[in-house]
């Protein structure tokens, strides 16, 4: 399940020039580590772990291996996704595609070991945690591959189905982020849990569609239907801004209903405000790759605000 990711080192932008200059001053080992972090989706694992911490704080859950499990799952699933799409990414993201192709075997084995570790650790959380851990993997098979095991039959992969693609990605993220820490804590699903689930579902939905704006021509050419392809960039911006506002309303309502503490809601609203800023630049900024990357950093904003709130309040 792919939130499409673009690197800060993408060619043809001022950021790329700046980053290239910075990287040129670093030792080669640091450059390799940076490339591995960015191209292999390891940085997404770190963001995902931060999101689990936010969920745990929002739901007042005790520390657990859930964050590590989610980090491992994200690494495994996104690495596999990049491997599966290495050929098509060669046009839109040549540096990443080249990195993935060069380290194909190592990445696949690393992703397999990561998922193995995630599954093993999830057993500590009980059968529900195990099921939640297996859920993104199973969904990814339906999402990114067009093969049904045992039959040899080929069906249209979910990745190519309009709206279903984004919904599946958002669902997988929201389920894993929300319910895995809950399963580890052996806690029950409450209204705050559903609010957190809805929040992450809507956030991921938005962040998944933002990169599609840049790829609108390419997607149209290969017949992949995304919101920008179907309704155009301007309308997409308005739809995503509407989702942002809807999410903000959900948070306000949750605070009003006592489902989310007001201080923590500030962190969520800060993240939404940040997202509105990014979304409003869709179709207006020349650097769409940077916008996509900036959208992913929304969770880091939320994490930092939550951390500040927990420490100082």
């Amino acid at each position: 399940m792919s939130r499409r990711n673009y690197t800060l080192a993408d060619e043809g932008s001022a950021t790329a020039v700046l980053l290239g200059a910075v990287l040129a001053r670093l030792p080669s080992s640091s450059k390799r580590a940076w490339n591995a972090l960015v191209y292999s989706s390891a940085y997404l694992s770190l963001i995902a772990m931060a999101e689990v911490v936010v969920v745990s704080v929002l739901l007042s859950l005790p520390p657990s291996p859930a964050a590590i499990v989610v980090g491992l799952i994200v690494f495994a699933v996104y690495t596999n996704d990049r491997l599966a799409d290495a050929d098509t990414d060669a046009v839109s993201n040549p540096e990443q595609a080249a990195f993935v192709k060069r380290h194909r075997d190592v990445l696949y084995v690393s992703a397999s070991v990561a998922y193995g570790l995630a599954v093993a650790l999830s057993v500590l959380g009980g059968p529900v945690a195990l099921a939640i851990t297996l859920f993104p993997g199973a969904l990814w098979v339906c999402y990114a591959t067009d093969w049904i095991p045992g039959t040899g039959a080929h069906v249209r992969r979910l990745k190519d189905v309009f709206l279903v693609n984004t919904t599946v990605v958002a669902l997988a993220w929201a389920v894993t982020l929300t319910f895995l820490p809950l399963a580890f804590a052996d806690d029950v699903v409450t209204t705050p849990t559903l609010v957190v689930f809805a929040y992450f579902f809507l956030r991921v939905f938005t962040n998944t569609e933002i990169p599609n704006v840049r790829d609108v021509e390419g997607d149209r050419a290969i017949g992949v239907l995304t919101i920008p392809v179907v309704v155009g960039v301007d309308r997409t911006r308005w739809i995503l801004l509407g989702i942002d506002c809807g999410t903000a309303a959900l948070v306000v309502l949750a605070v009003h209903a006592g489902c989310v503490p007001a201080q923590l809601a500030l962190a969520l609203l800060a993240g939404i405000a940040y997202s509105i800023g990014v979304t409003s630049l869709l179709g207006r900024s020349e650097n769409a790759r940077l916008l996509a990357k900036a959208a992913e950093c929304e969770y880091l904003v939320v994490f930092l605000v939550v951390a500040l709130i927990v420490v100082f309040i």
């Binding site: 084995v109 193995g116 057993v123």
Partner: protein, 571 residues
């Protein structure tokens, strides 16, 4: 109670390795065996995970629930193993949906019995405490032993084809099969210990612990021995394909001379089809007694003319024996020799023509030329006689060529190189008494193929006959080189013209580019039939050097071998 965290830790490692190995195997689809291996590994992980849940559960009901669900993983493993083995070793014709369903019937029934708490599987379940550890103690019912026996049967069924690969010539296949067998043997052994009550905690089946060894073994087979990168699965089909598509007819009979297998060609030359011939006595299909193997003690060869296609076959009956060397059947092969026989007939007729008819006619021409000769026409008559003589020589060489190829069909007959050269020298000296021919001595221990006899004779003669000098000279040098020998025949004549040499080196003649006779061709063909070659060079100050390079043979009656590897030029 320290035992539980250690056990859980080992089981977690098992799950991690098993899942990683399953994902790596998943990537290898559709390589034969990849999907069943994923199924097997998933079963192992399932069993291990649900054992952890069982250990963590506190109540009898919870433990029974997890233990019952565990059966899904337990019964998946042998099915996955058997299917993997069948696919991986190229027996994928048995991995069809109907066979898979058939194979899964007993496991499915077991899962149903487990999930419904049927007493056929377990008659009683109680909670026991061993060393502070709460364990489930279950009394097996009759079906437990059925599924146990079935599991072991499938384990054995899957291991047999892999055991065959242990002795395979290919090192990777040996490594793969050894790793796979370790993978299945480890949990198998621990399960045997559990069933024999030979484990420290009687209520705890340690099989999933051994899955950690299995996981490492499978992972090793996948990565170290490239399990799906190099697969023996084509082998059985390749053998079958070879049998079915071979140009020769082939029929397999059992010990009672009933036809048990046949390829299309074999059945066609007997005027039937494979499916009609199978199961019928050979005598009934072929009313030719000579075809039926008699004593079965040796491979036999005989000729058979098929009444259905009127072609002649060389029939070979080869024994099929069991491990006690008892004959259990025959493979009867039919090699079409019609063309060969026709060629032989052509050779025989041509041989007679060259040997008898042409010689007779040239003698007649020479005799009449002598009769018609007088003082004025003596020169013309001599020319006619010489021409007739050249025709006779050409016929002799043509006959020698035919004989050479006939000899080439026979196994190489070793003969002393010294005697071959001496015979050639003697023959040429008889025709050209003035010629000076020298050869090296001490060649008694060098043996070569007898087909070289006309080669040397022609090359020596060639060195003399084209030399217009009063004392033509030929020198023969022999240079042994390991298992090969080079024979250089050097003369001081005019040398070999390019127009003679080029067609020989090219291997073809055209109407515009061709040699003038048969002698040099005969030398080339003879050397090649002996497993060697001929090269032509110039001699200093004049003449030519022809080098014959052939393998040295071991004389009859002596042990040894013949090398066909040519020595390098720098030697």
């Amino acid at each position: 109670m320290v035992f539980v965290p250690i056990l859980s830790g080992v089981l977690l490692v098992t799950i991690a390795i098993g899942t990683a190995a399953a994902l790596i195997a998943w990537r290898e689809r559709p390589e034969p065996g990849a999907v069943p291996l994923v199924v097997l590994l998933a079963g192992q992980c399932w069993w291990s995970a649900f054992l952890i849940f069982d250990l963590e559960a506190a109540t009898l009901g919870a433990k029974v629930f997890w233990a019952n669900l565990r059966w899904i993983g337990v019964v998946t493993i042998p099915v996955g193993w058997a299917l993997f083995s069948l696919e991986y070793t190229g027996r994928d014709r048995y991995v069809r949906p109907r066979y898979v369903v058939l194979l899964s019937l007993v496991p499915l029934l077991t899962v149903v019995f487990a999930l419904t708490g049927n007493p056929l599987l377990y008659t009683d379940s109680t909670l026991v405490v061993e060393d502070g550890l709460s364990l489930l103690d279950r009394s097996p019912g009759p079906w437990f032993w059925v599924i146990t026996a079935y599991t072991y049967l499938l384990g054995l069924l899957g291991s047999v084809p892999l055991l065959g690969l242990i002795w395979n010539d290919s090192l990777p296949f040996r490594g793969q099969s050894a790793a796979l067998l370790v993978g299945i043997m480890a949990p198998w052994a621990s399960n045997v210990l559990f069933l024999m009550d030979a484990v420290p905690l009687p209520g705890l089946d340690p099989t999933p612990v051994a899955f950690s060894i299995s996981g490492v073994a499978y992972l090793g087979a996948l990565t170290r021995f490239r399990l799906f990168g190099m697969s023996p699965s084509p082998n059985p089909r390749a053998r079958r394909l070879l049998f079915e598509r071979m140009p020769d007819g082939a029929i397999v009979t059992d010990g009672h001379d009933h036809i048990v297998d046949s390829n299309e060609t074999g059945a066609a030359l007997l005027g039937t089809e494979p499916r009609c011939a199978l199961g019928r006595p050979l005598r009934e299909v072929v009313p030719d007694e000579s075809l039926v193997p008699t004593d079965g003690s040796v491979s036999e060869q005989r000729l058979f003319r098929s009444p259905h296609d009127d072609r002649l076959y060389d029939v070979t009956a080869t024994r099929i024996t069991d491990i006690h060397d008892r004959t259990i059947g025959h493979v009867i092969t039919f090699h079409d020799v019609s063309e060969h026989v026709r060629q032989q007939q052509r050779h025989e007729v041509l041989n007679r023509v060259f040997r008898h008819n042409i010689r007779t006619e040239t003698n007649v021409i020479s005799s009449y030329a002598d009769l018609l000769a007088d003082e004025e026409s003596q020169g013309v008559a001599d020319e006619i006689t010489a021409s007739a003589s050249r025709i006779d020589e050409l016929a002799t060489k043509a006959r020698e060529t035919i004989e050479l190829f006939e000899q080439g069909r026979e196994p190489a007959d070793p003969v002393s190189l010294a005697s071959l050269l001496d015979d050639g020298i003697a023959t040429v000296r008889e025709r050209y008494p003035a010629a000076r021919i020298e050869r090296e001595r001490d060649l008694d221990d060098i043996y070569v193929a007898i087909v070289l006899e006309p080669v040397f004779e022609n090359l020596i003669e060639n060195g003399v006959e084209h030399n217009a000098g009063s004392e033509p000279s030929v020198r023969i040098e022999v240079e042994p080189d390991g298992d090969w020998v080079r024979v250089r025949i050097a003369d001081d004549g005019p040398g070999i013209d390019d127009y003679e040499r080029s067609p020989l080196e090219r291997g073809t003649e055209t109407p515009l580019e061709h040699g003038s006779g048969l002698g040099l061709w005969l030398a080339k063909w003879g050397a090649e039939l002996a497993g060697g070659s001929v090269t032509f060079g110039a001699n200093e100050p004049s003449g030519s050097v022809v080098t014959v390079e052939v393998p040295v043979l071991t004389p009859s009656g002596a042990s040894g071998h013949r090398s066909t590897e040519r020595p390098s030029d720098d030697q």
